[in-house]
Symmetry: C2
Subunit: 405 residues, 2 copies
């Protein structure tokens, strides 16, 4: 097949069989009968699980040349399959333990074959079931600090980094983030999605000039601050977990952007779940316990992330200029303030923008759901407004605690 | 010729004749006898003036695959000829009146044919002869504000800008700036060049942690702040002038970088000339008059630059998020602080780094020259250290006046 063809299960089997038979891949032994089925929502991608006779399996993910979302359909570059595979290879070389393993990539078919993580769960669903993952904070922090540092100006020779910045230029998917995170929620736009009862709160947010100024500055940083190679979509649906393992998937939004964006998005998702638990765990004590776990996860994750960054800078910085006293502190302070701001934009856009989270949308009681939405909206607003005055992570944690109580 | 060949005068004539005879260009009438001679220093490029029988002439500039500088020779990408031609075309489309006109570009031969500006003078030489150019401030300000704005996130759709950022990725030449501006002067490096008597001052500068921290932050901005398409080498040797005209040439260092870099470099060159005049104009009153002219040029240039940026933002911003109240003020404040900082780095690196300026080096009296070097070094240091506290251009001008008196 020399042209792109959207696969069905049989085509997926044929494709993999050829790879195996021609010895291009060896994840299955040759000569077996393979089976395949499609799962996933098929909005942006086709996802197949392909198994051999011994129940060994791999995942084949193929990008579709369009996106379907809330009835809309718009063309979307197949190049995102390349971005995803190449981010996984880049991040996987730095943090193999936390990155889904790529077994094969084909540009023509815009497909990637990956290890099957079916034995793990998606974090979002698990958190909606109040499951705890004691290693999550440490793992996410390690993944973000290490992939961040080793793709940054601290470590990469400038010429190499510039080549990577070009390689990971991802204009179409960045545009989606630019619109959904930083524009739509703050204007009247048909892509927005919130209940009528939230309208006065949304209006108040749009009348808040200080907020919109802070969001404009965050958007400017997202547009023009190629600090490191981001995952680009670090929400709870992009993380597979169990008690021992954490694996990042789906970095098709990857690009060189501000370091605070990924960790801010992740923390935002912890806070969305925190707020949403009012609609899931009826028992007050049980709820507080789980919320405390989420907050501890957040505090541990950011603390370890910052510690590891500082330690990586100290030990592995190759750029001499950045070894001067005080530089890493000021750099990390900017990352903190960015993280808090981006976290706030995640809370707001997941509440009133196009793409919601199941954490909130699955709350059955209308009043509770509305009240959670008011809380996430207000929390997002306060985080964005107060980010520039958080000079230390402890100031950030204090701000959070004052807002959440 | 399908492969790169370094030209001599005859090859240059043959090349142009073919262009004319095959009607690929019409800057000369067909069938004439052409003449050519090489001028320029031949360190990085070959430059020929090619004339027809009626004394019409053009400039042919060909990149050499290496750079010779103070005895060193290192390979240097021919791609800089593409960068230069494409920056000239981009900036020429925005400001044709201030950009040398490109008549032809050939990637294979790494050459550009341009209009001949031989009737104008290079600004540096003219300023060393104490000539005044009443339009210079306005013209440079207009060129920098307009090329800056129309290549920025204020104006360009994000997807278009990202494509341009990739197109103008210029790693090898950026590396030269990264080294010469932000690294070498602050460490012991064989590329540095200063008299032994300056050594204590240089050492003091290298012991100044606050200064090195500020320089590290400027380097980080230079590395990873693709705000707009810069000229990249805005010193007094890149500007042709007469009483009515100002034409920018030689943007081979062009890339997407921080907006303050170009204007800071230009202002730095005005200040280098200001300080150097102690070695050129013996008469005190005449010297003060010329220095006052230079300072007025600086003040007018920055003021018009800022005014025009604000006005362009107000009138032509397409990015809705950036229209929020207060955004342009904060943006322009950052540009001001960057400009002052980059200006300071230009003063320092031209004093003790590899590439000096004739303004200072042509001072015959050793003591005077040394005293000027001390002044430019101290001024650069003060500008870098005080840049972050200059919140308005008037604060910057006051700082300058306090340092220059």
């Amino acid at each position: 097949m020399t042209h792109y063809v959207a696969f069905n299960a049989q085509r997926a089997i044929d494709y993999v069989s050829t790879l195996i038979d021609t010895q291009q891949c060896d994840f299955f032994a040759p000569g077996q009968t393979l089976s395949a089925y499609e799962f996933g929502d098929g909005n942006l991608n086709l996802v197949f699980r392909i198994s051999d006779e011994h129940n060994n399996s791999v995942i084949l993910k193929q990008a579709l040349p369009y996106a379907r979302c809330v009835g809309e359909s718009w063309p979307l570059t197949l190049d995102r399959a390349r971005i995803e595979a190449q981010v996984l290879l880049n991040h996987g070389a730095i943090c193999p333990q936390f990155t889904v393993r790529v077994l094969h990539y084909c540009a023509t078919q815009a497909l990637t074959i990956m290890e099957d993580l079916g034995q793990l769960q998606i974090l979002r669903g698990a958190q909606n079931n109040a499951q705890q993952f004691p290693q999550l904070a440490q793992h996410v922090a390690t993944y973000l600090s290490h992939t961040g540092f080793y793709n940054s100006d601290f470590y990469l020779p400038a010429q190499h980094k510039k080549a990577l910045v070009s390689q990971f230029t991802n204009p179409e998917l960045c545009q989606i983030t630019e619109d959904l995170f930083f524009s739509d929620p703050y204007i009247d736009h048909p892509r927005n999605n919130y209940p009528q009862q939230l309208a006065p709160h949304v209006q108040a947010l749009r009348n808040n000039s200080a907020l919109k100024l802070a969001v404009a500055k965050l958007k400017a940083r997202f547009l023009s601050s190629p600090q490191s190679l981001l995952h680009g979509d670090m929400h709870s649906g992009s993380i597979f977990v169990d008690q021992q393992n954490t694996k990042m998937i789906d970095p098709e939004f990857g690009f060189f952007g501000p370091i605070g964006f990924d960790i801010g998005s992740f923390i935002g998702n912890l806070l969305l779940n925190y707020c949403a638990q009012r609609g899931h765990i009826a028992d007050f004590v049980a709820r507080r316990n789980y919320q405390t776990h989420l907050l501890s996860t957040l505090v541990e994750c950011y603390s370890v992330f910052e510690q590891q960054w500082v330690s990586l800078i100290e030990q592995h910085t190759t750029e001499q200029s950045f070894k001067v006293a005080g530089y890493s502190e000021q750099f990390m302070q900017q990352v903190l303030q960015d993280s808090i701001g981006f976290c706030g934009t995640e809370l707001i856009r997941r509440t009133i923008g196009l793409a919601h989270v199941a954490d909130i949308d699955s709350i059955r009681d209308d009043d509770t759901r509305l009240s959670v939405q008011q809380q996430t909206l207000a929390l997002g607003e306060q985080l964005i407004l107060n980010a520039p005055s958080c000079n230390t992570k402890d100031a950030f944690f204090s701000l959070l605690i004052s807002q959440l109580n």
